[in-house]
């Protein structure tokens, strides 16, 4: 390590960076001329060295004297102190320990300097001893931190042997205290992740203050021993009073292996059964895809398979996702069980079943009144009597059929509801999806009316537009996808114009029916949409992350914040670095779970366009559905 060659320099400078005396650091007498002391306010004219930032853990502020062990980050000229090695120690063993930690965490640690925690003048003998250590563990720059026990005053020095500044020039030291436990457990969320940043196997090369977090996180192997271990080296760090552990956590870890295996097998069986049955029967698979309950159940199955998979989570984000899914499922099931107990108590299901048929009757009656109103003179508009009567009678008959079917089903409704209500034990989201499906089934006639009205209207609009082109002497060129002029025969023009007039004068009637049924359909869709929104909310809210942010805000860090501690003239500047927690909005944004995927695929503009031209709108397009 070049001890011999450095000996002369050390001896010469031993006097220069000599006695760590109490009092201001500029009271040192030495033969080598040095720049003027730090206390002077001649900022521009003083040839100062670099400012060295020393990140010091708060737990070590009361530790006994020893060596400072940590990592030096040259790009920011900052020294991250991780632990204090106490006397007595053997230098070889210290170096071995550092090499071990380097292998485990791929972070290059070194001995950064000395730490001296002493009473007023009592431990003078420690001074030269500490100086001698600078020769054994050479590091550039060599830090000397010192604190007096009684007054609590700090003094710091950082000396360089080589470098652009003259040898023996002292750099200014800024002390930044940090809570080691919080920095170790926290996870930084940078505002925007650059696309070319490589993560994972790279050695600690994070920028800025992320380097501090990175260093502490990678040096976990250093913190494994505490003061009760009989190791060769005695360290002081955040766990030196006793390694943090919890019996419940350990038991859960041991038990989670076999439990996960069992549940993973069970879930794979269920999904295998699901896939083999669905593809066999064609009508069943069609119904399966239309019901939102099945979508929700499938989604939950996927999530549970993710949680109980036997692979360990690769990154903290994946771990958070697993935890979020687990908490979300547990809350869902708890709410579902609460709903179930509420439903089954006091015979509420019976009451619901009894109320259902009268409600369906009431809705049908209201629809009948509506149709009668349309068949008369609705809002004072004059309809085409014949078409009006035809459409009105057709819809009335359809309604009559529907009501008959509902009455046919009425004795079985209570049993059906009772069994369907049991599905609430699978979760509140499943119960809500079932509710949405029940609403869809009960308002099926409204859907049918909408389809009839829309098809009729669409046909009319197509006919009108094509005949309008004929009226103007043009036609639609399918090959060129544009409107071209065309010469028609006289009889073609005659019939075309006649049909155009007929369709035009019948337009208000059809349009009115279409409008009314579309509004009804949109109302039902809105109700279903609200339910789906609620289901989405329960599905995608990251409850574990929100709870973590509430109870342990330092775990999710948006950045850091600094506070200046009491400052005396001539003493080094001391700052306290605290974790700045992530705001709740960003927590939700960063950790939200992917939802079912049943989002409406239309924008408002395309929706209005489709409504105007009478094209059918399908609000819930599942992934992989065929277009009608």
């Amino acid at each position: 390590m070049g001890l011999g060659s450095r000996g002369a320099a050390a001896a010469g400078l031993g006097a220069a960076s000599a006695a760590v005396r109490p009092g201001p650091p500029d009271a040192v007498r030495h033969p080598v001329p040095t720049p003027p002391p730090k206390g002077a306010a001649r900022a521009s004219s003083r040839p100062h060295g670099m400012v060295v930032k020393a990140f010091f853990p708060t737990c070590c502020a009361s530790a006994d004297s020893g060596l400072l062990v940590g990592r030096w980050v040259p790009e920011q000229s900052s020294a991250v102190v991780l632990a204090v090695v106490h006397f007595p120690f053997i230098p070889i063993q210290v170096k071995e320990l550092l090499a071990q930690v380097h292998q485990a965490g791929r972070v290059g640690l070194a001995v950064l300097g000395t730490w001296c925690h002493r009473r007023q003048e009592a431990e003078e003998r420690l001074g030269p001893f500490l100086e001698g250590l600078g020769a054994i563990f050479s590091h550039e720059p060599w830090l000397q931190l010192c604190r007096e026990r009684t007054s609590g005053l700090w003094s710091c020095k950082a000396t360089r042997q080589q470098g652009p500044t003259r040898p023996g020039v002292k750099d200014q030291v800024m002390l930044v205290f940090y809570d080691q436990r919080q920095v170790l457990l926290s996870q930084l969320h940078p505002p925007a992740a650059l696309p070319d940043r490589q993560a994972g196997d790279a050695t600690a090369s994070a920028e800025g203050l992320a380097a501090v977090f990175d260093t502490v996180a990678r040096s976990e192997a250093l913190f494994r021993s505490d003061c009760f271990d009989e190791g060769p080296v005695r360290l002081s760090h955040w766990q030196s009073e006793g390694v943090e552990a919890s019996i419940l956590a350990e038991l859960a870890k041991r038990a989670s292996g076999p439990v996960c295996l069992l549940l993973a097998c069970l879930l794979s069986l269920i999904s295998a059964a699901r896939t083999c049955r669905v593809f066999k029967l064609r009508p069943l698979s069609f119904i399966w895809s239309k019901l939102s309950v099945c979508g929700q159940l499938g989604h939950r199955l996927e999530q549970l398979a993710l949680v109980f998979s036997t692979q360990k989570a690769e990154s903290p984000a994946q771990l958070m996702r697993k935890a979020n899914v687990l908490v979300s499922v547990l809350l869902d099931v708890a709410l579902g069980l609460a709903l179930l107990s509420w439903l089954h108590g006091k015979d509420r299901i019976g009451q619901l079943a009894e109320a259902l048929v009268p409600v369906a009757d009431h809705v049908a009656e209201a629809l009948q009144h509506l149709l009668q109103w349309l068949m008369g003179a609705p809002a004072g508009l004059k309809m085409n009597r014949a078409l009006d009567q035809v459409l009105g009678r057709f819809f009335l008959y359809h309604l009559h059929l529907w009501i008959s079917y509902v009455h046919l089903l009425s004795p079985f409704i209570e049993h059906i509801l009772w069994h369907v209500g049991l599905s609430a034990c699978l979760g509140l989201t499943v119960a809500l999806s079932t509710l949405s499906d029940i609403i869809a089934l009960l308002t099926f006639h409204i859907y049918c009316f909408y389809v009839y009205g829309a098809r009729l209207y669409c046909l009319k609009i197509c006919g009108l537009s094509s005949l309008w082109r004929l009226f103007r002497g043009k036609k639609w060129n399918v090959l060129r996808q544009r409107v071209d002029s065309c010469s028609y025969d006289l009889d073609q023009l005659f019939i075309g114009t006649l049909l155009f007039t007929v369709l035009l004068f019948l337009l208000p009637t059809t349009a009115l029916y279409y409008l009314v049924f579309t509004l009804l359909r949109l109302l039902v869709v809105a109700v279903q949409g609200l339910i789906h929104l609620l289901v989405d909310l329960v599905n995608s809210l990251p409850l574990y992350s929100l709870g973590l942010r509430l109870c342990r805000p330092y775990r999710l860090a948006a950045g850091v914040k600094f506070r200046v501690l009491e400052h005396e003239a001539g003493r080094p500047l001391r700052l306290l670095m605290q974790i700045n927690p992530l705001p709740y909005g960003r927590v939700v944004h960063a950790y939200r779970l992917p939802s079912c995927g049943c989002h409406p695929t239309h924008s408002w503009g395309s929706l209005c366009r489709k409504l105007f031209f009478g094209e059918l709108i399908y609000p819930w397009r599942q992934r992989g559905d065929k277009q009608d």
Binding site: M50, K53, E207, V564, L575, N580
Partner: protein, 187 residues
């Protein structure tokens, strides 16, 4: 070293600027707004409650009165916690970064820290609103383009001091940034 001066903001209200020089490389500027005045609070509360009483005499529903009390309380708490900023602080530490803290009337503090490596410069910008106003802002470096600016972060957004106050803060910040540039320029 600490000193205090009083300035005024763009609307004419009184502001107090407290400067603390911890060391040649660390300075703090603290701008305090006038506190919530009892007069405006009483005025708003009386208006809301009179309106509620008027509605009550119309509708004869006592829920309106309880609702009015509830709304006033919630509104006041929300205003103190989310809207009313008491103090804005700018802490500039050579070689570490710039930190901006806003303290709300309820005691909540919201802090943003920008590392020195990202700071390009601190400038005073002009903005044309109903009149010309000046604001101090921090320019951030663009990681992709060496001479570009990726973001402009305005400082003292709620207290809005006038140009004389901004010049004081600007001069101090430039002294420290000059240090920083000299230190980073030399290898």
């Amino acid at each position: 070293m600490e000193d205090e001066q009083s300035f005024s903001d763009i609307c004419g209200g009184r502001l107090a600027l407290q400067r603390r020089y911890y060391s040649p490389s660390c300075r703090e500027f603290c701008l305090s707004c006038p506190r919530l005045s009892l007069r405006s609070l009483t005025a708003v509360t009386c208006t809301v409650w009179l309106a509620a009483y008027g509605l009550f005499t119309l509708c004869e529903n006592s829920m309106i009165l309880s609702a009015a009390i509830f709304i006033t309380l919630l509104g006041l708490l929300g205003y103190l916690h989310f809207v009313k900023i008491d103090q804005e602080t700018l802490l500039i530490i050579d070689s570490l970064g710039i930190q901006m803290t806003s303290s709300y009337a309820s005691g909540k503090e919201s802090t943003t820290f920008i590392e020195m490596g990202k700071v390009k410069d601190v400038v005073i910008n002009e903005a044309i609103y109903m009149k010309v106003i000046y604001y101090l802002c921090i320019l951030l470096k663009d990681p992709v383009e060496p001479h570009g600016i990726s973001q402009v972060v305005p400082v003292f957004q709620s207290t809005k001091p006038r140009l004389d106050c901004l010049i004081e803060v600007y001069r101090s910040c430039q002294e420290i940034l000059a240090h920083q540039k000299a230190a980073s320029a030399s290898p």
